[in-house]
Symmetry: none
Subunit: 403 residues, 2 copies
């Protein structure tokens, strides 16, 4: 969807409400030939009853066959073509640790590493130092680094991985990586890709100089590399594009972060799925678009734990009546991508999707599952970016195009 | 479809005949949960029998989720992407009153309005004056206006609405609206958007000056505003693009007008659906592409009259044997968009479509309805612009692409 096409069609002052319920990594596969998927195996009477009143289909967030990361997959659901709208690696890392990235900040993903006396990298993960050590080294660097004109903030992600943030005036993310992404090489020198980034590149080179001195005695983590320098993108916001007042409800930093990048209001992290639905109820009158994110379907998929993933789907099903009691005008239940327990990883499989509204013509399918969705009228492989305009249409929020 | 791709593939001197039967606003919704749509409710033995020999599907004329106006929807069926090929508001208004717009004419949509002594608009509809008054004022203006070098033609649409046409040499539609589209404001001054439009803008400003004097004593219609200045677009014609000799049979001005814009021969307005089919029969030997337009399915949909819409579909069904007796090589039965009686308005729902030809592989569906179409091999949401190339293929009018 070209945002310029939809912009003049958005009705103002609408009261209709849309809920986008995302079970992360929802799509699955049978563990054995002829079996059922996680979603097909789950006992979920509420979702099945809703399927009978809904239109079904399966979406793909990227060009067909590609497997999305979490950021890209959510951008697709939000209507931003993930090939065109890319969030820089550094920004994704910052979002993943709930770092409060500000406009103008430059973020990068950092690795502590081991170098020999010549500065050649011998271990890109510094012997997988424990997270506590990584955290201590981040603190050490922040205490000792002194670069006039700019603030350096470091936050450990996990083990040897950390987020690097440069905060100051007139910075740019157009700087090349220092990380050569290989052992046996020295770290690269950070270089400006455009003239306006020269000042930022010099700040980074100074950080590298001072940092290497500070870490010299901290073997195995006696050096570090940085990659994916990036700033928060300057995109139109979700609210502007779709004419809604959106709010995000999610337990994990990454998803609150992506919602923040597209300009949604982001609520505090909930402690449980139950609490997420309570937050939905409590905020029902304040917003008109609700992104509700369920993480554990994906986590158990990644773990290869088929049964636990099934169980999470069943728990979500038990919460569904509370969502329906709010009487949303449009309720979409889908995933951001597939994470079949069988593959223990994100996958490219189209993602089961169900859209309920009072103005939909139900497909007559009576269960919510991958193979039911493949028969639905939304199509067995529609583009994720088509969902938002379709949801707005069903919420009666669009004027007609042309006279 | 890129027209340049199909152009070299068009076979010459073909005799095969294609009928595009459009029931305006055909797609519908059940009035109550679990019910049937208008098309599903209609008793239509002829269409159902034809469905068994056809391929079915549901099209959308615009990016998925958008609701088309009549002009845009028909352009889609004719193979012109309505986002790319837009007909200006003024031209649409002229087409809607059967005005014989010429190449070079500039048309606009006019509103009579009420202004106070300062020229501030106090009523954008001049108290909804009756059509007869609107007509009289159009005549009055045409008699008294005198602008050397250009002819001004006005034709009432309905009540306070009229069509404004400027006829002369070297005119341009690139002029800004005088209509501020709000009360409490003065009319804008028409301005040229490009240098070549300066002469036209001055003609319009002069019309506004003279017109306001002429209407000064005609309270409540003591002024007027104009918007959507436009000329007939310079597009390739339907006949050139698809290699056919097309004719349009329609009762209502708007549809004859859109057909004219794409260069079809347009027959006189028929007085009934029966007469439309008689015109089809009488002209069978003269053309090879026949656009036949049925209006009342849409009208009753807009009225919210479910039963009357059903009845019109049944009447069309009764006429179908006469079309089949002509032995068309390809017969498409579809709508331009959906107009569910339940919504009393055009909608975004995909439009039921059935394509019959001697070379199609029937889907094995035995009824023509929204949910049958959603299961058809054309797909549950194909693009309307795909229809024309597919019809040509089934009419054996295309060479193969590549050696």
């Amino acid at each position: 969807m070209d945002f310029d096409v939809i912009k003049p069609l958005l009705k103002e002052d609408q009261k209709s409400k849309i809920v986008l319920l995302v079970m992360d990594g929802l799509g699955g596969l049978p563990m054995t030939e002829g079996g059922k998927t996680e979603l097909e195996s789950a006992v979920k009477p509420n979702m099945d009853a809703l399927a009978a009143k809904s239109v079904l289909g399966a979406h793909h967030p990227l060009p067909f066959g590609l497997t999305p990361g979490s950021g890209a997959a959510h951008l697709g659901l939000f209507g931003f073509d993930p090939v065109k709208y890319e969030i820089g690696r550094g920004v994704l890392s910052a979002l993943g640790v709930d770092f409060d990235l500000q406009k103008g900040d430059v973020a990068a993903r950092g690795n502590f590493c081991t170098v020999d006396s010549e500065g050649v990298i011998t271990d890109r993960r510094a012997g997988r130092i424990p997270t506590e050590v990584g955290e201590k080294l981040c603190q050490l660097l922040m205490e000792k680094i002194n670069i006039p004109g700019v603030e350096v903030i470091l936050q450990v992600e996990k083990e040897y991985r950390f987020v690097f943030v440069l905060r100051g005036e007139g910075l740019s993310g157009e700087v090349s990586d220092t990380d050569p992404q290989a052992v046996g090489k020295k770290a690269h020198i950070a270089k400006a890709a455009v003239p306006q980034a020269e000042k930022t590149a010099e700040f980074i080179r100074e950080f590298v100089r001072q940092g290497n001195k500070i870490l010299a005695a901290e073997h195995p983590a006696n050096s570090f590399v940085l990659r994916g320098f990036a700033q928060l993108p300057k995109w139109p916001t979700f609210g502007e594009i779709w004419g809604v007042n959106p709010v995000a409800i999610a337990m994990y930093p990454m998803y609150r972060g992506v919602a923040k990048v597209v300009g949604m209001t982001v609520l505090e992290a909930a402690a449980s799925m139950d609490e997420e639905i309570t937050m939905l109820e409590q905020n029902w009158d304040k917003y008109d678009f609700f992104f509700v994110h369920i993480k554990k379907t994906d986590s158990y998929g990644e773990d290869g734990n088929f049964d636990a993933k099934v169980h999470i789907i069943e728990e979500v099903d038990a919460l569904l009546p509370r969502i329906l009691a709010l009487d949303p005008d449009v309720l979409i239940i889908t995933g951001d991508h597939s994470t079949p327990a069988k593959l223990k990883a994100h996958s490219w499989h189209p993602v089961p999707t169900m859209l309920y509204s009072k103005t939909c013509l139900p497909d007559g399918l009576t269960t919510y599952g991958e193979r039911a969705c493949a028969k639905g009228s939304l199509g067995s492989r529609f583009e994720a970016t088509d969902l938002m305009p379709y949801a707005l249409a069903h919420a009666l929020r669009l004027e007609k195009f042309g006279a």
